[in-house]
């Protein structure tokens, strides 16, 4: 599945391990939130790099104490219509100041990528868009009415600086 980060296709070095599956010998593994919380100490001593995958109902606040040790957080969109991941991303980026990779996985559609990016995602794992689609999607609007997790300033503020 193509993985797109910062307008480039990147290789995926991470492996997601479902909650009931044993860990293999991969160096970079992604765990569900509860498993991560239960096993993080034990895994840290094994020298594996750890990432977390959040399900829509997960509370990202639980990750807050460990954000420094995480290189990757995946937010799963099992159905594209379920928009909880947008709030999880905003919380992680803006309130908890997470700076590592934030990856959207699951049903990631071309026409959601702009809002995902604005909410704080920098990486998109998608079968529904190629690199040029993603770049086009990110370019569709030159302005925004709200501040979000990207660098754009809100129109409300821009007007006053004219």
């Amino acid at each position: 599945m193509p993985l797109i980060k910062n307008n480039q296709i990147i290789d995926n070095i991470w492996t997601y391990v479902p909650d009931d599956a044993p860990l293999g010998d991969e160096s970079h593994i992604i765990l569900g939130l509860e498993r991560f919380l239960a096993e993080r100490l034990q895994q840290r001593s094994s020298n594996k790099a750890l990432g977390v995958r959040l399900a829509p109902a997960d509370d990202p606040e639980k990750l807050r104490p460990y954000l420094d040790e995480l290189d990757l957080i995946e937010v799963d969109f099992p159905k594209y219509a379920d928009g909880r991941g947008f709030s999880q991303a905003q919380l992680l980026r803006r309130r908890y100041a997470y700076t590592g990779e934030l990856r959207a996985v699951g049903e990631v559609l071309r026409d959601q990528i702009l809002y995902m990016h604005r909410s704080g995602f920098d990486t998109f794992s998608t079968t529904r868009a190629d690199l040029s689609d993603v770049m086009a999607a990110l370019d569709e609007f030159s302005l925004s009415y709200q501040k979000a997790a990207d660098i754009r300033e809100a129109v409300f503020g821009i007007r006053q600086k004219r």
């Binding site: 219509a81 501040k147 409300f156």
Partner: protein
Amino acid sequence: MYRYDEFDAALVNERVSQFRGQVARRIEGSLPEDEFKPLRLQNGVYLQMHAYMLRVAIPYGQLGSAQLRRLAEISEKYDRGYGHFTTRQNIQFNWVELKDIPDVLQDLADVEMHAIQTSGNCIRNVTSDHFAGATADELMDPRPWCEIIRQWSTFHPEFAFLPRKFKIAVTAAAHDRAAIRVHDIGLHMKQQDGTTGFEVHVGGGQGRTPVIAAKVNDFVPESEILDYLEAVMRVYNRFGRRDNKYKARIKILVSETGAEEFSRLVDAEYAAQSAHEKIDLPGDEIERITAYFKGPKLPTRPLESTAFNDARVADPDFDEWAAVNLHPHKQAGYTSVTVSLKPIGGLAGDATTDQMMVIADLAEAFGHDDIRVSHAQNIVLPHIAIDDLHAIYQQLQRAGLATANESLITDMIVCPGLDYCNLANARSIPVGQDIQKVFADPAYQRDIGKLHINISGCINACGHHHVGHIGILGVDRKGQEFYQISLGGRADEKAAIGEIAGKALSQEEIPAAIKQIIETYRSHRTSKDERFIDTLERIGHAPFKEAIYAAD
């Protein structure tokens, strides 16, 4: 009224290009219908039984003449010569072809209009008082805040895939004409110690589970309101139910969580916002937007108009119309005119291409270019000199727009029902028309006074039957169309859900039953000044129920 600056214009034009691309991908096949659906909905495009329908936003119900003319042109070119004004102050067109919709949206963008977020599980068009900025009974004009909320909610990246649709209404008048207590969020503007702010109501709604909103905050100052709204939206986006479409509205979250716990969650989310998360709306920006709504400079006029008084004596139909369709203006010598889209035997909220053109011309000639769409699906010309009323009336009359029934018994909200809607249990339109015929006599209607009858063809309640003083709901009884009457609903500041009066009646029985209700009211009212809803409140439902079912 608000005018786009280069930023607003750029965003709306970029939206048209974006949707043009999406439609092209849909037609060429790379975008499947399932994935296209949320995109078209967020541009107001519905797929109905036989064709697409386009719902165009009329932010807080305000239009200029050029905009209404553009809508009229669209109705002629793409629909079949009609536009349908909705209970959310929008307009809908049927029979528009998908391939043409990007062009229609461009035509709209050229006159500073759009169809953004008029459908889908996102924050919808903000609605307000149709007399805003003109009425004598408002604390201040709510429209600047409607516009600020419109901008904040437009393309909000976090709240485009909510559990369900989300509707916000704002009023600043003592008498609530915007039905804020049956909205997902209702804002009532207030002033406290010299500060402007909002009383916040959350979780009202109609549909199969009607609920009156809970008051979750007595006063949020204007400087904090957008941040507070963000907190409400985030709590809803995170915790609203997504397992069942019928339990996904915020009203269910509020009632299942409990209003107190819900407002605690909102307060906690609000308190957790750090400084850099705050929206920080510059005070100058509030002033800039407010300045657009100053309203026309109306020359001073005498309180009494001889021309008007003479015309009322000479033209009894005009006299009847003037007694009913005018609303007090804040400035002497002026009034707000309701142009009824509820002719006896017509379709509620429908206007023809020509009628739209006539209204646009009148607004330009006499009305300072200001036109409103009301929540009751009528048109309002808010700033009219009393001297000009007779001339306006005569033109309205020629266009079939002079029905004298504003807020009277024949000014009903009626959903499309079985004639047009595939979800319906029963027809609504003929039921409404049959009732209209019973009460068509203008003198009789006026004698009855203000009264709202609302009719829905099924439990989805698009005709707002729960909040009609008299509500009528179409139900299916073993394949037969029946109608359930409810009494005592209201959508104003004393909002209440109507109570079912008794067993459902057949279509033939309904007009007589309504007549019985009305005659019971007329025999019990203390005077003509006591409205139906007040008599009902005073004497209770029992005499009315007896009257309806007496024949059994």
